[in-house]
Subunit: 436 residues, 2 copies
Amino acid sequence: MRLSRYFLPVLKETPGEAQVVSHQLMLRAGMIRQTAAGIYAWLPLGLRVLRKIEQIVREEQDNAGAVELLMPTIQSAELWKQSGRYDAYGPEMLRITDRHDREMLFSPTAEELFTTIFANGVKSYRDLPRILYQIQWKFRDEIRPRFGVMRGREFLMKDAYSFDPDLAAARHSYNRMFIAYLRTFARMGLHAIPMRADTGPIGGDLSHEFIVLAPTGESDVFYHSNWKAARDTTVDADDATALQTYVDRLNTDYAATDEKRDQGLEAEAGDALKQSRGIEVGQIFYFGTKYSAAMGLSVQGADGTAIVPHMGSYGIGVSRLMGAIVEASHDKDGIVWPDAVAPYKVALINLRADDASCLAAADAMYDRLTAAGVEVLYDDRDERGGAKFATADLIGVPWQVVIGPKGVGARTVEVKRRGAGTRDEMTVEAAVAKLA
Amino acid sequence: MRLSRYFLPVLKETPGEAQVVSHQLMLRAGMIRQTAAGIYAWLPLGLRVLRKIEQIVREEQDNAGAVELLMPTIQSAELWKQSGRYDAYGPEMLRITDRHDREMLFSPTAEELFTTIFANGVKSYRDLPRILYQIQWKFRDEIRPRFGVMRGREFLMKDAYSFDPDLAAARHSYNRMFIAYLRTFARMGLHAIPMRADTGPIGGDLSHEFIVLAPTGESDVFYHSNWKAARDTTVDADDATALQTYVDRLNTDYAATDEKRDQGLEAEAGDALKQSRGIEVGQIFYFGTKYSAAMGLSVQGADGTAIVPHMGSYGIGVSRLMGAIVEASHDKDGIVWPDAVAPYKVALINLRADDASCLAAADAMYDRLTAAGVEVLYDDRDERGGAKFATADLIGVPWQVVIGPKGVGARTVEVKRRGAGTRDEMTVEAAVAKLA
């Protein structure tokens, strides 16, 4: 993409509305704009990162055997009355009356609808187990939205729902999502710690929150120092026993949110007990037959008797993750995107847009990299080199390729790694080979 | 994907709620379910087709130089009051009051928000021209939603907005979208005719609707018989003059919606004048400075004077397209998907799930096709062959590969083309080569 044809409204000043660094940098880098309290437009650069995060989440859900579908954002209040949550949910639910005076709402989560759709589509135990998921916009009418996309009102969430014949099978589905979540966050360059967590309005008796440690996190968390290291996620998720053993072993190291602290276990951890602030990026729940019973989901067992499936639900805050990644990966000059979620791989900078040989060399480099399948943002604007460097550092693309009058005769370019700050002079061919 | 692990709730009976064939078939094929009046859940098979249609739309927008971003679904009423449309829009706008009693709405289109975001991000004539677009869910509170996803309330729309320094440049942007639309629909196997159209609530003085002819269409359309043939779309869209000549030449053949009929031109067409019903799949508008003036969009010209950009907007009904494609492409047994939008390329049918050699052969075929990058839906269920054939025909996957006891010894399979109904016996290797 040529910057001269793009829409990248970077800001020189830090907007006063932004309190945390991720919000500041995403505004400055022209990734998002607030359009109403807690509601954001995703500008082209921000949308590219959002799609990459979404795609990693999708791939790991698919790898876990989950099947994707898509629910509408606007739902009928009827289903929520059936489960009893319409009254219980409170003012965070955005309630809507349509032109025929029917009560509707903007979905904040979708246990009721998934359970109903599944109930209408299945008949027998052979239709179990299943995990269904969607990646869809949700709305929660937070009283004080803040921290940019980390606590917005309209947000993109992956929500999955598992349906199993009994508790043992449901436990396996829970563990499948547990390991899928560790893999998902690791692929984005995030170290997320699974912590014993309160089940909140979804209910149930087993839950973990996945927490990224960050001083700007909104909640206090407590964990054994062993959790500071990333965990190996090599385990056969199809083998229920091996997976349970793996999950149990991980959970021998204490980790809990503020609501689920355990004094005895904390005493055991002793000096290894650490306290931090944390950002929740996902949460998983097992809640038994709470929604299947309420919504009338039942299938016929092998012996002809009715089975009421055991269920769990599994959320990942897809848009929130972008804020968490920026909190975890930035420096004084701007964002430092992990490769897997970077909006582009290469920022190509022509230092002298007014010099014919530099222009020809930059155009040729753009064509070669693009032909090699590399995602390039080409700063072809008629601007000073300093402004181009500042923009490239701010938007945090992993590699910068700089073309200037010094190297153009010798057919060399400078290749800079954004995070480490290392710079190497190399031939055009070597640069293409390195980046392709 | 193995059908034994999928969620494909096909229906044997045609649901009474569905009046048109596309709605009937999409329900029967387990692609959609209605969750409230005019609101649909997209089941796994339907979502796959939706994503393929969306991706074709995206690629042709990108090819036209448009830049993708994403607006929130919930917008503040303030912007709509500024343009005067908050009162003008009427009861089709879904109006919402949030917990702080602020007036909000579910976006039915986004001229105001795009213009405002663009205005805040640009400064000079060098920031023009631009075409920005999004593919996002919209809501229009239709008084009588009907025809399934063709006239639903919550629907997926591509909406693009062009910003140009003057009328001539705006005309070029309009023409870029004109040719992009012809290419988009052709790639989906649809023949869409651009027709002179009323500008409706968006306003402006130039508009075309792109209409697919179908007896179940909701409006009357009139066109010269020359439009029955598909048009060559070879033209250099970057060359404004060549593109204008191309568009002008196309438009010498009369085509108009009911609201824009011209008696003189119809008399000229004589016996070549045809009348039909039509489904609108896209509409493009040029409306000058209507929204840029209302929303305060202005940039500095080369000579320092202010330029108020000329604008157009360009919609495609992404979810509606699925209905239009099914209307245009089905037979008595079910849907016949055009290759470009088919949910899977191959339906792999094992006729004898209880036979070890058939099972091994089918599993091996599934692995080989999948390894070759072919999208396969493998019917590995313990069902009769007849039921499997009926499902495969109903869901309309372009190719069927059948494995049964007759061929398994000779390592042959039957390959059926769904649309033509042709069947060929061939070796496993030949089938893989044909389909990969």
